[in-house]
């Protein structure tokens, strides 16, 4: 039964990792703009992904 102590400790630890991830995401500005990233999906495969070297003036 004493394995349970270990398991409870682990479960808390894992939950803490998620809490830390939430804090990181907030600090990183992931919740700042929740709309534009959804639009960027539409650009997949468009040319802007690889910037061209030559610039036509």
């Amino acid at each position: 039964m004493s394995a349970l102590y270990l398991l409870v400790g682990f479960s808390l630890l894992i939950a803490l990792v998620f809490l830390a991830a939430f804090f990181w995401a907030m600090r990183n500005g992931q919740y700042e703009d929740t709309y534009t990233p959804a639009l960027r999906v539409l650009f997949d495969g468009r040319k802007s992904a690889k910037p061209s070297k030559e610039i036509v003036p």
């Binding site: 809490l19 700042e32 468009r46 802007s48």
Partner: protein, 807 residues
């Protein structure tokens, strides 16, 4: 006349989708409405960015509105101006800037702007925030400049909105939000504490082994600590402030409940006499904070606190002898000579040096037509120069101008407290007293037989009486209402505005831009009919004039007007004269065109443009205001329940039309911004609660002085003056419904408060008997919170459907 017929599809511009009425330019089998659109297309094609047109159909914004004047953005080269705009934290040689581009409207915009590095090699990073209509650009300072970036954007039809007020707020915001972090911590602890409490609740009569019970209790205590010291800190501080100053607000009983809950649980765990209520404690804080988050709905793209600085340019062109340089407007001093071009705002009160100029004061005063000024006359800040550029001498600093002083009025500093808050706080006094009385009485009752039981009952009463559900009813009902209203086109600054809307008994309207559409005119013609060639000739002449009447009339004529014009002459305040082909065309005031006494009656409503061809008087065009669609029924509906007032900065030409809706005494014309402010300011003294509905800067004072000020805006991402709410112009006709819905939402708040008090009563009956076990508390607390939340949200949605705000 020979007209080239094009297929219907080809008639709308490939770039911006506007119908190509005037002329059709073709390139690559594609049609464009103007040179500007074609230029953008050519730039994009040359740089292999044609995907812009593939993502969305006709996504462009025509850059034709702005005449690409050379050196327009020269002021951005100024080091001082640059410093105001660029983000402070410069990483090496890379500069950061945030620009507001109100034109952003679709996925193509985002794609093109984020591909900016292909049009300017200096761009390191470009990121769009769609909801805020912002573009964040990182650029290498040695390869490009802010000015070049802005010029590039403007040439693509995305001219950044660079204003004096914006410069301060455009800088990067720091991510993160304390309240959300507190909810995160509380939620984490709540979830885990609940898991640790479950074994005991589920164990049945034989219970959990003692060692396990103690282990889980200590784990719960550990989890409760961050909630007490971090998440609950604000409540505890507010409760303490209230107690020490003897101002009993809703926070006091909440803080009492929190302390009692934690203290009692900690005691039980330390003493080993029970398992505590840590799951209820963490849950309580989680729900309380959730309510706070819910109420605080923000509309990223909108700003409710704009003052005159948001309209003003960042810099002005100062002339010193023959040299010109850009100076930030905040540093302009009296005596300096500035040069203001067509379409630019006058930044400070000044004296005109040019012979004459025409100025459009419609933002400041609401006058629909521009006025002419001559040398030496005083020009007021906020006016827009039309037609010719003008030179003027600053007579007052920017902050001292008549317009800016409007913001010094006390009306702009008032703080409005929430009425519910006041009511709840007044109620809290009795509530706290009653709770303490019940707790003491119950404790005294038990004290004789069982001292431990007395303490138990005392704390139980404090715990269960904690008005958590009460504190949740307002945020959830009004928070939901805010969201519903926003989806229907009315964006309110905060939830308190909904409460205030229910007490409105008077509605004050502005005319220009609110009841009428600001830029459109209704055009009628009286006189001898003009031949097709004469109309074309007139259009050709009008094309050369920047006067707003000329522009409006040209739009209404629906003629091409590409004839060759010679001997063009324009006399301010009078009219135009020019030759088109063989004919001489005159257009303008009655005195300018015809003999006195000829033509129309000057008392007729609407501005008039009289026309003569070859000295022969033909007739006149009448330009009247165009009222918004369906405005009549709306005014009638509102008139049944409210007193309606009209405050217009314009003249009283429309008095007769409007008298159908407003009492004669309730219409005031020719009102200056200060007149409006003062008039609205007197309404409360006669016992009226006024809702002001206005648009421009001229209403800014009245919007503040009224109980609730709502700004009507054609495009919410452009600008509106400081106000309590922004209403999308096309939804103005739903105003009566919005007002009914606000009343409904307020009733729901009261109902959910009653519901939450019922829960408190049930809980108290357990508590005074000493029967408040952790299990009862663990069920009752979340149950009351969640059911009040569900009731408040659900009932508000029903009310929205019932009042027709939302289907």
């Amino acid at each position: 006349m020979n007209i080239k017929v094009l297929p219907a599809q080809a008639k709308s511009c490939f770039h911006c989708g506007v119908d190509c009425l005037d002329r059709v330019l073709a390139s690559d089998d594609k049609c464009f409405c103007c040179n500007g659109c074609q230029t953008v297309y050519d730039i994009l094609r040359a740089n292999d960015l044609e995907d812009y047109y593939a993502l969305e159909d006709r996504p462009g914004t025509s850059p034709k509105e702005r005449a690409g004047r050379k050196g327009e953005f020269a002021y951005l080269d100024d080091a001082q101006v640059e410093r105001m705009l660029l983000d402070g934290d410069v990483q090496g040689a890379v500069q950061q800037v945030r620009l507001r581009l109100p034109q952003i409207h679709c996925a193509s915009c985002v794609w093109l702007l984020e591909s900016l590095d292909r049009l300017d090699a200096g761009v390191v990073r470009a990121e769009v925030d769609f909801m805020r209509r912002e573009l964040a650009v990182g650029f290498a300072a040695e390869r490009t400049s802010l000015r070049r970036l802005v010029e590039l954007l403007a040439s693509l039809g995305y001219e950044p909105e660079i204003t004096l007020g914006g410069a301060a707020t455009n800088k990067k915001r720091l991510g993160g939000d304390a309240l959300v972090r507190k909810v995160g911590v509380a939620g984490f602890c709540f979830g885990n504490a609940m898991l640790f409490s479950l074994p005991e609740y589920l164990a049945g009569p034989e219970g959990v082994a003692v060692e396990w019970k103690r282990f889980f209790c200590w784990a719960n205590l550990l989890l409760a600590l961050p909630v007490l010291f971090y998440s609950a800190a604000d409540y505890l501080a507010a409760g303490w402030r209230g107690l020490s100053k003897w101002i009993i607000s809703i926070e006091v009983p909440i803080a009492l409940g929190i302390v009692a809950l934690f203290g009692r649980s900690a005691y039980e765990i330390f003493a080993g006499v029970g398992s505590g209520y840590m799951d209820s404690f963490t849950g309580l804080l989680f729900f309380l904070l959730l309510g706070k988050v819910f109420q605080r709905r923000t509309f990223d793209a909108l700003s409710f606190d704009r003052d005159y600085r948001s309209y003003f340019p960042l810099a002005a062109t100062v002339r010193e002898g023959a040299a010109e340089r850009s100076v930030p407007v905040a540093e302009l001093v009296p005596g300096q000579c500035i040069f203001v071009r067509h379409g630019e705002l006058i930044p400070a009160d000044s004296r005109l040096r040019s012979p004459w100029v025409r100025i459009d004061y419609s933002y400041v005063t609401g006058e629909a037509e521009p006025v002419a000024a001559v040398r030496g006359e005083t020009l007021h800040a906020g006016g827009r120069v039309c037609g010719l550029a003008a030179e003027m001498e600053i007579s007052k600093e920017v902050s001292q101008s008549q317009l800016a002083r409007l913001w010094d009025h006390p009306a702009f500093r008032k703080k409005r407290g929430s009425e519910f808050e006041q009511r709840v706080n007044a109620f809290s006094k009795y509530f706290t007293g009653a709770v303490l009385a019940i707790a003491t009485l119950a404790a005294l009752y038990w004290a004789g037989s069982d001292a431990r039981m007395a303490v138990h009952v005392f704390t139980s009463v404090l715990i269960i009486a904690c008005p958590c559900a009460l504190a949740l009813s307002t945020p959830f009902a009004l928070g939901t209402a805010l969201g519903i209203l926003a989806r229907s086109g009315l964006f309110l600054k905060n939830a308190q505005i909904i409460e205030q809307l229910t007490h409105i008994d008077t509605i004050v309207f502005d005319k220009t831009g609110t009841l009428t559409r600001a830029r459109d005119n209704e055009i009628g013609y009286e006189g001898t009919a003009l031949a097709e060639s004469e109309r074309e000739g007139l259009a050709a002449v009008l094309r050369n004039s920047a006067h707003p009447l000329s522009r409006s009339l040209l739009q209404g004529l629906a003629a091409v007007g590409d004839g060759v014009v010679s001997d063009f002459e324009e006399v301010p305040g009078r009219g135009l004269r020019a030759r088109v082909g063989a004919a001489e065309v005159m257009a303008g005031s009655r005195e300018w065109v015809g003999e006195a006494g000829q033509g129309a009656d000057p008392r007729l409503p609407g501005a008039q443009v009289h026309v003569a061809v070859d000295g022969d008087y033909r007739g006149f065009f009448r330009l009247g205001n165009v009222y918004r669609q369906g405005i009549g029924p709306v005014l009638e509906a509102l008139g049944e329940r409210y007193r309606l007032l009209l405050l217009s900065g314009d003249n009283d030409r429309e008095r007769e039309k409007l008298s159908a809706f407003f009492a004669v005494d309730d219409m005031r014309f020719g009102q200056s911004p200060t007149d409006k402010l003062e008039f609205v300011g007197t309404l409360p003294t006669s016992g009226h609660n006024a809702l002001m509905v206005g648009d421009g800067l001229n209403d800014a004072g009245a919007l503040q002085a009224s109980a609730v000020g709502i700004a009507v805006s054609e495009n919410t991402s452009v600008f509106s003056p400081a106000c309590d709410g922004i209403l999308q112009a096309e939804h103005l006709q739903r105003l009566p419904r919005f007002l009914r819905f606000a009343t409904g939402a307020n009733r729901i708040v009261v109902a959910s408060m009653v519901l939450s008090l019922l829960y408190n009563a049930v809980g108290l009956s357990f508590a005074v008997q000493g029967a408040l076990s952790p299990l009862v508390s663990a069920i009752l607390m979340p149950l009351s919170s969640i059911s009040v939340m569900a009731f408040a949200t659900g009932a508000t949605r029903l009310a929205a459907r019932y009042t027709g705000v939302e289907r």
